[in-house]
């Protein structure tokens, strides 16, 4: 057992202990899926398709990274999907309606996300509304506001040259033509790396875990629990803003009706990656692997021409299996 723990430590780099074993399991499942699909279809393991998979992971992956932070505090955020859309719409207003330069649109997206996250955090920490309800309300408010602000029509970014480059362009491809990795994927990895750093190496990260393990004891030790909690929700919201930029850039438009349902896929990725829904335990790397598993599964089943009804059934079964494996592990260790 010690060897497996060591291997996972070596692989994960900057996260140790608790989630390592589950992460190895998740990673093993990912590899297994990749091997399985490669053997099953010659069309699967091809550069263009792998890039398509990574690109399909980008938005859900970034959302999942954001919601991981909240879930580790023992909370939940159901508003991430519609918050992403809301940020995209605000970016559309700033860039297309007001004609402001691109950097301001980026700031607007991330700022809007952080502000909305802060609001959710306020509902949860100060008003003591259970996170499930607070963010459910937030999800609906943001969904409605996106439709109101956009006039229920998509906002296009045709007047902002370079906007689609955020997601579709490839900085890496410009340097290494053989590896045309889209920027959206690069942004996913950078976001994940930054979130992981914050979680593992900063005070905010330490409090994130502490809140999820035992909020009361943190409070009793004189920490301003409410402020830290609001900070984590705001950070998570800012990350949703990044997701909003990615999806708007990829579609060259802010689609106001989109977003609901995305929160559940993000949460599924988090759970497959071994983060506990009861809080106090989890890793960003795990979440990233979870999001990749979901994207590989969806893409692979499509490549194999599995009927759509069955794709959904298989995805559901995989979530149950992943969580079951995690539960068994904890029962054994705990």
């Amino acid at each position: 057992m010690s060897t497996t723990a060591e291997t996972s430590r070596a692989k994960s780099g900057f996260s140790l202990g608790a989630g390592a074993y589950q992460k190895l399991l998740a990673f093993a499942s990912l590899v297994l899926l990749l091997i399985g699909f490669s053997l099953a279809s010659p069309n699967f393991m091809q550069t263009a398709n792998i890039i398509a998979i990574l690109q399909a992971t980008a938005v859900n992956g970034v959302l999942a990274v954001g919601v991981t932070l909240v879930i580790i505090t023992g909370g939940i955020d159901l508003s991430v999907g519609t918050l992403m859309t809301f940020c995209a719409v605000i970016t559309g207003v700033v860039l297309t309606y007001w004609g402001l330069p691109l950097p301001l649109g980026i700031v607007a997206a991330i700022g809007t996300g952080a502000l909305c996250g802060l609001t959710s955090g306020f509902f949860v920490a100060k008003m003591k509304i259970p996170p499930f309800i607070a963010t459910l309300g937030m999800m609906l408010m943001l969904k409605g506001l996106s439709l109101v602000i956009s006039g229920t029509k998509p906002i296009y970014f045709n007047d902002t040259p370079g906007f689609t480059e955020i997601s579709r362009g490839s900085l890496i491809g410009a340097v290494l033509p053989s590896l045309p990795l889209p920027n959206g994927v690069l942004i996913l990895f950078l976001t994940a790396f930054a979130a992981s750093y914050i979680l593992e190496r900063t005070v905010l990260g330490r409090y994130t875990f502490a809140l999820g393990s035992n909020e009361e004891s943190v409070r009793l030790s004189g920490v301003n629990v409410d402020a830290w909690k609001m900070g984590i929700y705001a950070l998570s919201g800012g990350i949703c803003g990044i997701a909003g930029l990615l999806i708007a850039s990829r579609l060259n438009s802010a689609q106001p009706a989109l977003g609901q349902g995305y929160e559940l896929e993000a949460i599924a990725a988090v759970v497959i990656g071994g983060t506990s829904l009861s809080g106090g335990r989890g890793t960003i790397l795990g979440t990233l692997i979870g999001a990749l598993i979901m994207a590989v599964l969806t893409n692979g089943l499509r490549i194999l021409s599995v009927a759509q009804e069955w794709q959904t059934v298989v995805t559901g079964a995989i979530i149950i299996m992943a969580v079951y494996a995690d539960m068994m592990r904890r029962r054994k260790m705990g």
Binding site: A48, L304, Q308
Partner: protein
Amino acid sequence: MFTRRVLLGAICAAALLAPTMGASAQDKMYIPLISKGFQHQFWQAVKTGADKAAAELGVEVTFEGPDNESMVDRQIDMLAAALAKHPSAIGFAALDSQAAIPLLKQAQEQKIPVIAFDSGVDSDIPLATAATDNVAAAALAADKMAELIGGKGQVAVVVHDQTSRTGIDRRDGFVNRIKEKYPDIEIVTVQYGGGDQLQSTELTKSILQGNPDLAGIFGANEGSAVGVINGVREMGKKDVVVIGYDSGAAQKQAIRDGLMAGAITQNPVGIGYETVKAAVAAAKGEKVEKNIDTGFFWYDKTNIDDPKIAAVLYD
């Protein structure tokens, strides 16, 4: 626990491998259809038509679409996966044409012909579009309305929305035909209910409240039409002539019960069939017609059980 997980994984991989073993002798032409939806009966009828053409022409067809029509990015992922399979041709009904352009260009570069269907694709990349001529179909509804109300009186229109192609075409098709051919018929109002049954019901009730002499109402899609029937029923206005669009269990029942005079049905089966047929022709390098009209029918109490009509209706 690790071993159990590996076991589960192995079973999973085996299950994934199994279906392809049989299908590995793949000389058949392969054509994926990426639709705007999947669960609705309308799309299932399109799929039926596609499968029928596939069986006749000896090609392999798959049919996929996102859960709802807002999921533009999911549709793009489906298109990307379809392209990765190096298909002979692709059938595509764009949710948002602009978002799909990069992938459509990729298809063009790989010399994969694209056939648009239903609302089509706003681009010159598709070689053909298989769709209903909504303007002509709504004009037929106008003719039927005029016939049923005796060529004169007030009518109202309840449309699903004022921005979508189908909403605009059906509204204009109906309104313009009335204006051109029936000077004694007055269109008192055109209202938009989002295709939502409840909202369209409330709309209809207020229209009837405001226009007690109204002779007829046209509901321009399934949700609007069902809303109109509900509104007329709740107001107890038995003599108002209601004409609907598309089918569905509620509309079919209303026609049987005499609450609705009749409705226009598109030919979703024909849309699927013609799309695959055009895709096969394009893949073989044959010339295809740019606009393929898949047809529409008028149905009422007298022909609702006619096999030809019943085949294009859905519940």
